[in-house]
């Protein structure tokens, strides 16, 4: 052979997008919400974030090692999971519980199913629900923002009481918007989440389909059915409180557990929205974002299968 040439299939150039950069973008987008959480809930919040991220990274590294697979911590997906989990935990949670959540998310939900891209449910959300069921008290004790630790019911809990006709202390829109309310570390400040979401949309890391349809559906259903009479629900209150903003922009849009087709993403948004509203309005739980997204996660393979688009100039696929 004269000189040896590399022979490969076209295309011979590739775009700049890479997995690590996408994950970094998500981390950057989560920073405003993280900072808001630390501002409102103090040092304790930093510790929770630190512990979950560390637990996720360590579990990712160790599981891959035990399974004798290539290390994947450099793709930063474990950091995203850790950060998302922390933002979904109450600031007062004992740190060891937060660590258990991180390990559960990575080892059980992600790596045992094959690692990045293979898990069928969002690891951070499953971990949160796992903790919620394992440690009910610690996971449902919320405090008001500020230096004094005063336990306080969340705005959605207040709303539930209000609709029942009981005495309730509803939060103002402004407090809901900036995040001056009780709740999980990263879910309270709508404005901080929206700043991050705008960055993700701008960077085209996520599409508008799922979050906008999700939030829109919640608004619609809570407006129609969420009040003491029909069409009197306080939908603004609903979309600004609880984990909806965080869930819609950062969890329901999780690539691995959301559909890849346009139609599928619309269905995902509607499904999440309706389920969230139904859980909030008609079950014993004040909040339904986690369960709604997880239920829709399970449907994703089915949704993708039934929304295979017509090819350009072609016929519709039969599923």
């Amino acid at each position: 052979m004269e000189n040896r040439l590399v022979v490969s299939s076209s295309p011979h150039i590739r775009g700049k997008a890479n997995t690590q950069r996408i994950m970094l973008d998500v981390i950057i987008a989560l920073l405003p919400a993280t900072v808001a959480g630390i501002y409102f809930f103090g040092l304790k919040a930093i510790l929770v974030v630190f512990v979950t991220v560390l637990a996720c990274l360590a579990s990712e590294y160790l599981t891959r090692r035990v399974l004798k697979k290539e290390s994947t911590i450099s793709d930063l997906s474990a950091v995203v999971t850790g950060l998302l989990l922390a933002l979904n935990l109450p600031p007062t949670i004992p740190l060891w519980m937060a660590a258990v959540g991180g390990v559960f998310a990575i080892v059980i939900v992600k790596q045992l199913f094959g690692g990045l891209g293979q898990n069928f449910m969002n690891p951070a959300l499953v971990a949160r629900v796992f903790l919620l069921n394992a440690f009910v008290t610690q996971m449902t004790t919320f405090v008001s923002p500020g230096p004094d630790v005063i336990s306080s019911a969340t705005p959605l809990f207040q709303m539930k009481e209000f609709v029942k006709g009981n005495e309730a202390n509803l939060a103002g829109y402004w407090d809901l918007f900036v995040g001056n309310i009780s709740g999980c570390i990263g879910e309270t400040s709508a404005i901080a989440i929206l700043i991050g979401a705008a960055y993700l949309l701008f960077r085209r890391v996520i599409g508008w389909e799922i979050p906008i349809v999700y939030i829109g559906s919640v608004a619609l259903v809570t407006w129609i059915l969420g009040g003491q009479t029909l069409l009197s629900g306080d939908w603004i209150y609903h979309i600004l409180s609880g984990g909806l903003m965080l869930g819609a922009f950062f969890m329901a849009t999780d690539y691995t557990t959301s559909p890849v087709t346009f139609k599928g993403r619309i269905i995902m948004g509607i499904g999440c929205g309706v389920l969230t509203a139904v859980i909030r309005l008609y079950t014993g739980y004040p909040e339904g974002v986690s369960y709604a997204i997880l239920l829709m996660n399970i449907c994703v393979p089915l949704i993708d299968r039934y929304t295979v688009p017509k090819s350009f100039g072609g016929e519709k696929a039969v599923a």
Binding site: L5, V7, S8, S9, R14, G15, A17, T72, K310, G313
Partner: protein
């Protein structure tokens, strides 16, 4: 209806650094190797033997098969060998090797073709050996023959040239715009077409200006500015962007009343009708990080790649990857001993950095491939099903509609070799179909 844009695609880089390189005619090489297959379809049977004297334009091979085009000698000289030779695609194809005498004597039979009906015109085009010069090499006479009962109302001239690096079409417009218009008039008249659209991407303002200026002489010819987005020059995308028509799956442009011709092809028709000289040369963009001197060369068909690169000034560093065609759809070459073909529009040589394959990681299901696919397919599922040899699923996901443009692989953040798997999937489906007889 004019759309100027199709759905999907990617913003591939342009790298059109040879756009101001005027075409240089390459000297006649010492020998040429002319393959009997330079088109999509059946290969030709060689009609010359070792020892024969041949002249420029003389037929070297032909076939009775419909989907094919004759092959002509690009030089005058002596046939030194007729045997299978390494071909651009990596296979061996019967080729005629000719030692040139440098005189470039033209064959006596060469004379301007005479025709009075559209059938005779199409017959003459077949004799010219013309194939689609945009890169695919589809025999031109088939494009020009409308299927029974179909009326062709629009001729689209493809000057989109969306592949990075290549400026072969661009130079044709800059250097020979009158030829382009003349070729258009010939085809319009012969096939009785009254509407012509010349599609050019908006990253070539000079070409748009030049062509608009020339086309203003005819009220039937319109130049349209297309958005620069890869793969704007893909036939189905171009038809949609310029007319709003969608070519049905598995059908040809003529099924929607359209003929698409590359700008170099139409210009060739003008020359051919004037002189009768068949297709024996091609403008080739020579570029890439490993070449010394990016340029546009007029090369005789059958010239070896090594002769082209040598004439062009050689390599800066030894090339690690050599492409025939552009970086999105071009074919990587095994050897520099392969020949320039009728539809070769670029020869690109790259150094180590560009040649190394990116390492694939896990699919994160981000959907970028879905967004990028101009054919509206789901490349990620085609990939997994091809790797599992799942024939039924491949069909369900329309594997055969893939045009292999490479947009999905380009867009993939996990650097998965999607197009490669999809090609594999197409082969699996083809084999299963021929075996199963369905």
């Amino acid at each position: 209806m004019f759309k100027s844009m199709f759905k999907g695609g990617v913003n591939a880089p342009h790298f059109k650094r040879t756009q101001d390189c005027e075409t240089v005619r390459m000297k006649v090489p010492e020998k040429v190797v002319i393959p009997m297959l330079q088109h999509i379809g059946a290969p030709c049977e060689p009609s010359v033997q070792k020892g024969d004297e041949v002249k420029v334009g003389q037929i070297l091979g032909n076939t009775e098969k419909f989907v094919s085009a004759p092959v002509h000698s690009s030089v005058s000289g002596t046939v030194t060998d007729v045997s299978p030779r390494l071909y651009a695609g990596g296979v061996y194809i019967t080729s005629v090797e000719i030692k040139t005498d440098g005189k470039q004597e033209v064959d006596k039979s060469i004379e301007p073709p005479k025709y009075s009906t559209s059938e005779e015109f199409i017959g003459a085009i077949r004799k010219s050996g013309l194939v689609g010069l945009g890169g695919a090499g589809f025999p031109a006479h088939i494009k020009l023959s409308p299927p029974q009962g179909k009326k062709i109302d629009t001729l689209i001239i493809n000057a989109a040239e969306c592949e990075p690096f290549i400026t072969s079409d661009y130079r044709e417009i800059i250097e020979n715009s009158w030829n382009v218009l003349n070729g258009i008039n010939i085809v319009m008249e012969a096939l009785k077409i009254n509407n012509v659209i010349i599609g050019i991407e908006d990253n070539k303002p000079q070409a748009i200006k030049e062509m608009t200026n020339v086309a203003s002489k005819s009220d039937k010819v319109n130049v349209v500015k297309l958005k620069s987005r890869y793969p704007q020059g893909a036939e189905k995308m171009l038809i949609y962007a310029t007319t709003g028509r969608k070519v049905p799956s598995g059908k040809l442009p003529s099924d929607v009343g359209v003929i698409v011709m590359n700008v170099n092809s139409i210009s060739f028709i003008s020359e051919y009708i004037k002189t009768g000289m068949p297709l024996i040369k091609k403008r080739v963009t020579v570029d890439g990080t490993a070449v010394n001197n990016p340029s546009n060369l007029e090369v005789l068909i059958g010239t070896s790649l090594s002769d082209v690169f040598e004439f062009n000034g050689g390599f800066k560093v030894p090339p690690v990857k050599v492409l025939m065609g552009g970086p999105m759809m071009g074919i990587a070459q095994f050897s520099l001993e392969t020949s320039v073909l009728k539809h070769t529009n670029a020869l690109l040589a790259f150094e180590e950095k560009e040649a190394v394959l990116p390492k694939s990681s896990a699919c994160i299901r981000c959907g970028r491939c879905v967004k990028a696919c101009p054919m509206n397919l789901l490349p990620l599922y085609l990939n997994t099903n091809a790797l599992k040899e799942n024939i039924e699923e491949l069909k369900k996901y329309h594997v055969n509609d893939c045009i292999e443009c490479g947009s999905c692989s380009y867009a993939c953040p996990a650097k998965i070799h999607l197009v490669q798997s999809i090609r594999l999937g197409k082969t699996q489906v083809r084999q299963a179909t021929s075996k199963g007889g369905k």
